[in-house]
Symmetry: C2
Subunit: 80 residues, 2 copies
Amino acid sequence: MIARVFVTLKPGVLDPQGAAIRRSLGQLGFDGVNSVRQGKVIELDLAETDPKAAKKRVTEMCEKLLANMVIENFEVELEP
Amino acid sequence: MIARVFVTLKPGVLDPQGAAIRRSLGQLGFDGVNSVRQGKVIELDLAETDPKAAKKRVTEMCEKLLANMVIENFEVELEP
């Protein structure tokens, strides 16, 4: 079973990478971009086949390793 | 209009970050993880309100700046 984890900075946390992307887009002539935020996506291929158990386990992984809970939010999405 | 861009490494491209995450998960006792791939998610807040035009523009942004087309794939997702 494939799980996708989206890790994004919490609102209000400074995002220099996002700001750099926005500036570069402007320099390339892409106007009308109000803001840019960059995050991570982590794709896990799990041996677990039960969706409930997989989601619980991936949430634990996020809390322990994949996300920094002080400054980041995460979302878990399962693909069958 | 919010656009979300997912940039992931093409299959076959070596992913040392993903491999490091997999090893760390194993050390923390999370077994049953067959493989891990790490990518980027970029959230753009656009002034554009037409979904078709927005998607076209974001695809251009990906091809020119956001993704390295040699080693990365991208997906564009629009939120109304």
